[in-house]
């Protein structure tokens, strides 16, 4: 009221003009600030899961190359997807950015390279050492577009103290797993922590089970799917989903998994309130942070069947990085990628994110908790993460949604898998 009485129209316009001028100056300041910060710096954006390894590689490279500088930022996977796709669409993507191996997501190597948004890395020396089985994760039309330090194992991260309290050992068959869960539950420990409110968590238990229920019997299941000769709803996926629900019906998950987040589930295992969580080894650093001692945690392959020979494991190439096709500093970035592909750097990065290095001269140096998985790799009983061979970006989010519906009792296994089949048959 006082303002209205004392401020004339002319004065108001003057004030507005002043405010506009301040705004303009502020905008100028912002622009110059950002341009100076990016001057000579490589802009790098990654997801939280890769921070430990990527930051280490960049720091080491900078130490050895005084003319190299970078501007690094991280964000959760969902946010990166939104922000990066907008930048890619606008033609102002960072020089180096996160990319998911294979196909199956809007930020995957196959989808982005098809849109000519990634730099071809095929002439880099490390690309010659990509194991044949992993080439599909790195290459599209025979050209390599992504660097990844290696493969992450998917299994159960367990709390050794909780297991000791219940007097149980890591199980090797499905029946043993149920018995272990029963004993943990009897001791008041949540057998399996599940944070299904966080969408990507919903897929982990099916991913842990289908290598045993699908791929051990039909190793070429993905090829049959592509050829239209197989479907989710008429395959071992039914068995895997039934087993998922069996775990829920027996009360082996924490109460209300659909309302529980990944962070809450991580904390449950870290503190020993829960016995285990089905997870990728790449998130071990987060679990260790949540635990009083990192040594409290171990990992074991999550058994899907009662036939030990059929218990294959999921082992997928971990999230990697690529160079934007529009980067003006592509030469610098390519040199950094060449450095990342060298055995020592690769090994250090892989160790930092608890994964098995892409290649190694001799015995691979891995985090000790991954040792139970190595025989499976040797015997070719590891299957890439399922989404990496799905033909479009719609199957994976459909999988997330139908699992939440299953856990919420809103759909049946058959209907859920039919929805995934429908999403699979849509064009890329």
């Amino acid at each position: 009221m006082a303002l209205d009485q004392s401020v004339s129209r002319r004065r108001l316009l003057q004030l507005m003009g002043g405010a506009a001028a301040v705004g303009t100056l502020a905008a100028c300041g912002g622009n110059s600030g950002s341009s100076s910060s990016s001057g000579g710096q490589l802009k790098v954006i990654g997801v939280g899961d890769q921070e430990a390894g990527l930051r280490k590689a960049l720091d080491e490279y900078k130490k050895a190359h005084s003319d190299f500088d970078f501007n690094l930022s991280f964000a959760p996977a969902d946010q990166v997807q939104t922000a990066l796709r907008t930048q890619l669409a606008g033609g102002n993507a960072p020089d180096i950015h996160v990319v998911y191996p294979g196909n199956g997501s809007a930020m995957s190597m196959a989808q982005l390279s098809k849109a000519n948004l990634l730099t071809d890395l095929s002439d880099q020396s490390w690309t010659q050492k990509i194991p044949t089985g992993f080439k599909g994760a790195f290459q599209n039309d025979g050209k390599t577009y992504i660097f990844s330090p290696g493969s992450s194992m998917l299994g159960a991260i367990y709390n050794k103290k909780a297991f000791a309290t219940a007097g149980v050992e890591p199980p090797t068959t499905w029946s043993e797993l149920l018995a272990v869960c029963e004993k943990l539950k009897a001791k008041g420990i949540v057998p399996i922590a599940l944070g299904a409110q966080t969408p990507w968590i919903t897929q982990l238990i099916p991913y842990a089970l289908v290598p045993g229920t699908v791929y051990a019997k039909t190793p070429d299941f993905d090829d049959k799917m592509i050829a239209g000769q197989a479907s989710f709803a008429d395959s071992g996926w039914v068995d895997a989903m039934d087993k998922y629900l069996e775990l829920q019906k027996k009360g082996f998950f924490n109460a209300n998994p659909n309302g529980t987040t990944y962070e809450q589930a991580t904390s449950l295992v870290g503190t020993g309130k829960a016995g285990m969580a089905v997870q990728v080894s790449a998130v071990l650093p987060a679990f260790r942070k949540a635990s009083p001692s990192p040594d409290d945690l171990g990992m074991f392959p999550f058994p899907a069947t009662d036939v030990a020979a059929d218990n294959w494991i999921p082992g997928g190439v971990v999230v990697g990085i690529a160079i934007s096709a529009k980067s003006k500093k592509a030469d610098q970035a390519r040199k950094f990628f060449e450095y990342c592909g060298q055995p020592d750097t690769l090994s250090a990065w892989a160790e930092a994110v608890a994964c098995v290095p892409l290649y190694s001269d001799g015995e691979p140096k891995v985090d000790p908790v991954l040792k139970p998985f190595l025989p499976y790799l040797k015997d070719n009983k590891a299957v890439p993460f399922m989404d990496q061979r799905w033909p479009n970006a719609e199957v994976q989010p459909t999988h997330f949604a139908v699992v939440q519906e299953l856990l919420g009792g809103k759909t049946t296994v058959q209907d859920a898998l039919k929805k995934m089949d429908e999403a699979y048959r849509k064009t890329a």
Binding site: Q81, R85, L117, A255, P257, G408
Partner: protein, 309 residues
């Protein structure tokens, strides 16, 4: 009260001056119009073309697909489910938020001593960012028995009412609606309050002399004269409900499953998660036309009600 009365008085004075020929020249609006055209209109019109293509949102590859995206939209279970959720949320928000807003306004439009403090308290959630409010309520809705709302229910002996507030597909949409209403009821209250301040006291006094009770005075004096405030509140909450996005993404991401997806979250997911920018734009276009149509119909009806009042 003084402030609003003075504002009404100023408005009347301004209108008189305008009638006297001192209306500001149209080009005073030009800077704002130019910015609006560049930032809102141009991108909206330029983007609308994508609705007729199969563009993925990145790269240059796109081909014209005619009305294919629109055909798909009307047979897409996810979009139809989202439309149902959107309408449910809109009706819940319009009715409950405005109902509570009106009650709050009537409550603080009295002579009780703490009325100013109460106005601030009820309006406070409005000034907090919706993302912050969503995270706060996500904490309150923690499904663990010893956390948030469940712990509070336990503490007062109502442990049997504990729920998985956001994880239960049948309950999640109610939880989201409650959060939105909790945050925005204060906004409706302020608009109703401004309307109440404009109701002449003499009308109430003469009605009292005629023996009219509280209910009769509200029905025959206050309610008809609140018509402009009702118009604004209903319009704003309808548009807010139809385009609800932030609270959903921050609290449930449309889940569990598709239980809380709205048209806005579907168009976001189609663009950024599924990589179907063309289809997403078609959803956006239909949503924009739908919101505009509903708004025009509403404003037509509510304005006519104002005239008769």
């Amino acid at each position: 009260m003084t402030t609003v009365t003075a504002a009404v008085g100023r408005g009347a004075a301004k209108a008189t001056r305008r009638r006297g020929g001192i209306a500001p020249p149209w080009y005073f609006a030009a800077p704002a119009l130019i910015v609006y055209a560049l930032v809102m209109l141009y991108p909206a019109i330029a983007g609308a073309g994508s609705a007729f293509t199969d563009w993925s949102g990145v790269g240059d590859q796109r081909s014209f697909v005619g009305l294919e995206n629109f055909k798909q939209l009307f047979s897409d279970d996810q979009a139809i489910g989202a439309l149902r959720n959107t309408l449910f949320l809109t009706v819940a928000i319009v009715v409950v938020q405005n109902g509570i807003g009106l009650l709050l306004a009537l409550g603080v439009h009295t002579t009780i001593k703490s009325r100013m403090a109460l106005r601030v308290v009820f309006f406070a959630p409005v000034v907090v960012s919706p993302v912050m409010v969503s995270f706060l309520w996500k904490y309150v809705y923690n499904p663990a028995p010893d956390a948030g709302l469940n712990a509070a229910l336990n503490a007062i002996g109502l442990g049997s009412l504990r729920q998985d507030w956001l994880g239960n597909p049948s309950l999640a949409i109610w939880s989201v609606a409650f959060t939105v209403i909790w945050q925005c009821a204060g906004y409706s209250m302020v608009i109703f309050l401004a309307g109440l301040e404009g109701v002449p006291q003499e009308l109430h006094e003469s009605a009292m002399v005629d023996g009219a009770g509280t209910v009769a005075r509200f029905r025959h004096i206050t309610w008809p004269l609140l018509a402009p405030a009702v118009t604004i509140n209903v319009m704003l909450s309808t548009v807010g409900g139809l385009t609800l996005f932030t609270q959903i993404i921050a609290m449930t991401n449309g889940g569990p499953g598709y239980a809380t997806d709205t048209l806005s979250t579907v168009l976001y997911k189609q663009a950024f998660v599924y990589g179907k920018f063309g289809y997403s734009t078609a959803v956006a276009l239909v949503l924009a036309i739908f919101v505009a149509a509903v708004s025009f119909i509403q404003i037509g009806y509510l304005r006519s009600r104002e005239t008769t009042a």
